[in-house]
Symmetry: C2
Subunit: 263 residues, 2 copies
Amino acid sequence: VTEELDQRLVFAHRLADGARAIIRPYFRKPVAVTDKGWSGFYDPVTDADKKAEQVVRDMIANAYPKDGIVGEELGNAPGSSGYRWVIDPIDGTRAFIAGQPLWGTLIGLEKDSVPVFGMLEQPFLRERFVGSNDRAELHNSEGVTPLAARRCATLSDAVISTTHPNDHFDHSERAQFARVESACRLSRYGGDCYAYGLVALGFIDLVMEARLAHWDIAPLIPIIRGAGGILTDWHGQPWRPGANVLAAGDARVHAEALKLLAP
Amino acid sequence: VTEELDQRLVFAHRLADGARAIIRPYFRKPVAVTDKGWSGFYDPVTDADKKAEQVVRDMIANAYPKDGIVGEELGNAPGSSGYRWVIDPIDGTRAFIAGQPLWGTLIGLEKDSVPVFGMLEQPFLRERFVGSNDRAELHNSEGVTPLAARRCATLSDAVISTTHPNDHFDHSERAQFARVESACRLSRYGGDCYAYGLVALGFIDLVMEARLAHWDIAPLIPIIRGAGGILTDWHGQPWRPGANVLAAGDARVHAEALKLLAP
């Protein structure tokens, strides 16, 4: 099993290289907005998303035909090997559209439905966050650096992040988020997947999101855990597709946030 | 006068180089957050801010001793040449602290209190947005590219940005912002100065901020104008230090936003 897994981890870098090569040229490609509006015009995100996912899926099907694949754009392909790849070609579509380099390509691997490995690839910054639950690393132009979340004893010292305080929460979730946010030192919005990378890098202490899909979060779990962090739903239970996410670099701020989230 | 100005524009790149060299190593330098909290610990922003502003001021005082200087950290030094430099060594302190590369160094030049030239330098991305009211350019590893804001006929097609929808607005401003935001296609938070760069690059259509200081905005005006955009206060009047900012890539969305901002 170790060898099966190790081979796939090396292979995952080739997948990320492939996705980077496809997606990078679409970022900050001029998009016409005319008097007739956006609709009907070239949509770089959809195009880059689908092309990248197709290429990654083809590479997997060719190398590991018995592995399952689930991706945001092209659905679920069951496998028989016990391994399943989880792909979000562009997480952070809105950041991508706005030209902000805080989106990423997510590639994860599950064994018997448990996330064992994950990657957050940022093609514009040429950064790749890689995690396997027991360890995590940043790959960039300076080489490979171990990732370690920051120690943070209390929310009053914490930097909290969510993608959008209004768009993604329902009424009661917004109130819950506001309770935790107001206990923190600093809040940042617009993070998407990149916020989890910053938890692993030791600059964000807490991330809260609502109702994330399988591909939004499964690839990030081994990175957060590998950097020493903790990721659950808002009740402290293991995350499942569709659940809310509470991710922290330090178990103490995670526990303090859970208390504030309780009814 | 043209020669006086041209010399200073060349010189401004040396100032930005100097600021980049000082600030870059402080970004994403690990900061300890311990049981005793942040206070008393090394603050990379303050340190980088002050050092960079001091170096830039020293360079100006040496090369153009009769020019005035106003900077965020080290105050106002009046001059007698009619030229005044406006410096914000790190605009977007919160992004800097959170490890997000959306902050920047702002260096502007005024002649008789009118902004004639400005730079937004991003040391981590190695990008430099440069504008002189009649034109604007992006300097990066790929060379020099002209900057042109995007045409956008209506708010319903527009991407709007503000730095923080809660922290920076008072009650009535928050309501005004919400009116404009809800008419837009997409909103993004956390922009700071970099949002104006993205207006010039053609990916954000509208920026709204409240009560910006002289150094927060004077260096950005020649970039927005040079890219074909428009920047006023929330009444359509010329911007003055302390006023709110409404910046747009297209005069049509600017006009539409002004209507929604009216009482």
